[in-house]
């Protein structure tokens, strides 16, 4: 069972890397979803898998006795899912808003915050000459 899950995680990560390499921001976010699901599955996997054994203390006993399911991974995964969901919801809205305002979903076209340097951009009297000042 571990082997199957391990390959599932591997396939998810491979798919997510493919999507993360896309220039389309929406695909990139889908890649992030797959990646966080792969990580959640791997938490489940490293916690140890058990069949049909609840993480409950048997009646009349005071401690857990083997075999029992490890109760911690589900708490961790639940936390991670909630956090991941919040971040993802925000990012989707952010990308949508970006699409509305900037009018593109192409990651390479997002150059507003870091405009490409143009020879004329630095025109004006400055104390330190730079090589492309001559074109201004």
């Amino acid at each position: 069972m571990e082997i199957v899950l391990a390959f599932t995680v591997g396939a998810l990560v491979a798919g997510s890397v493919y999507l993360l390499l896309s220039r389309n921001l929406l695909r990139l976010l889908f890649g992030v979803i797959l990646l966080s699901n792969a990580v959640n599955l791997s938490i489940f996997l490293v916690g140890g898998l058990t069949f049909g054994a609840p993480p409950l203390i048997a009646e009349g006993r005071s401690v857990l006795e083997a075999p029992y399911a490890n109760p911690l991974p589900q708490a961790l995964i639940l936390t991670a899912i909630v956090i991941g969901f919040g971040l993802l919801a925000f990012s989707l809205v952010l990308v949508y808003r970006g699409h509305q305002e900037i009018g593109t979903l192409d990651g390479d076209a997002l150059r507003l915050a870091e405009p490409p340097e143009t020879p004329a951009a630095g025109g004006g009297a400055t104390a330190i000459p730079t090589q492309d000042r001559s074109a201004a």
Binding site: L94, G124, I128
Partner: protein
Amino acid sequence: MNWLVAAPILIPMATAALTGLAWRSVPLQRALTLAGMTALLLAAIALLLQVQHGRILVMQMGGWAAPFGITLVADMLTAIMVLVSALMALAVAVYSLGDIDPVRARTGFHPVFCALMVGVGGAFVTGDLFNMYVWFEVMLIGSFVLLALGGRKEQLDGAIKYACLNLVATAALLLAVALLYGVTGTLNMAELALRVRMVPNQGIVTTIAVLFIVAFGMKAAVFPLFFWLPAAYHTPAVAVQAIFAGLLTKVGVYALLRTFTLIFTGDTGWTHGGILMWIAGLTMLAGVLGSLAVRDLRRAWSWQVVAHIGYMIMGLALYTPLAVAGVVFYLVHDIVVKTNLFLGAGVVRRLGGSADYAGLGGLFKAAPLLAVLLFVPMASLAGFPPLSGFWSKLVLVQAGLEQQSWAIVAVALVTGLLTMALVGRVWAEVVWKPHPDGDIAGTAALPAGQRLALVAPLVLLSGITVAIGLYAQPVMDLSSRAAADLLSPEPYIRAILGEPPPPPVLVGELP
């Protein structure tokens, strides 16, 4: 049970909740934020006084004994970091009175700012690795909102890149935590320190350590994982830029410092002397060259944030008591200076009407006192004696020479020299050069209240930089004690797991 340990989480959280309740009244939100950050500062001072003689304060959440529940712990390093970040929060809260426009204030700047501080404080005091991941996420979602608040096109552009790259970093961090839990069966950092040594396959521990370098390194903006930083940091409101530049990347450095002195110390030749050393040198060079390549004051400072992360990583990579003390000193110095630089750049932009070098100038004629005030963090950044930047660089270079790590020392000195070139360039472009539009108005043109709100934090932070420079010895003493605690973590482990440390039998061994 000492509630002071939880104060760095509880105080900002309560402030965030109260400012949220006061949603309709911006003046009330402002007053609450100021009061909350003042309370945080007082609690931080009390915390430092408690731990100054080597005491380690521990609090078990919900009363669960150490390895099972979430532990909050405050040692010297935590107390120093909490104190400096509380100071920055207060300075930025004061600055925001004059800087944050009504639209941003009405759409939730104050509650989210306090929520960001919850994440910062939580990351400093937690003693549990998964809990640290959670605090990083609290910080991250707060920073997403602050970055996009205002909704200008550049901001959305920067925020999209910041969000996407940080989501990947988050996944890497969670995966690293999960794998470490898988091989050790615990998430408590003190117990991890003991258990990691007992893992039979040390190779897998080193692999996980490298994954932690990637995850925390991305948060700390080290080479080659820093590209989200110069893409985004210059776009939001000035107060937001300042708190980001001062605190967020340094929380990543703190996390690296904590985990790579407490948990991952098995293969220091490879993780510290190898990977971290290369990262440190390349981060310094990439950052300082980037800062020289741009012609915009805020973007130059953004690249400088990256460059100076390299110095701190260098200290961690050298991994001697002196070097680690240098990292702690550098953290204190850098947080103050970077916050100050961004706040100063905000005032310059307000007066000069631009952040581009081409549209700036004439500051010395318009506001000579302000120019002198701005000179302090700039000179400290470049490492002029006797300011704080000189002493912190001196300690790191000295540690490097002791270890005969000539290459990294050379890189550190070259980076310092190039930083000096940048500072000279900024000084010439912004302060001495005549403004392209003729004379500009000085700070006297600003309304009195706004002037006080904008300039008072600059005076405070520049004063701290000068004070650290002139009284370097007390700060160095504190840093050395923090470093000594980090490098011999037995008291830390004993304080958390009880005395004497129980033999790490695998209680709750995985089935």
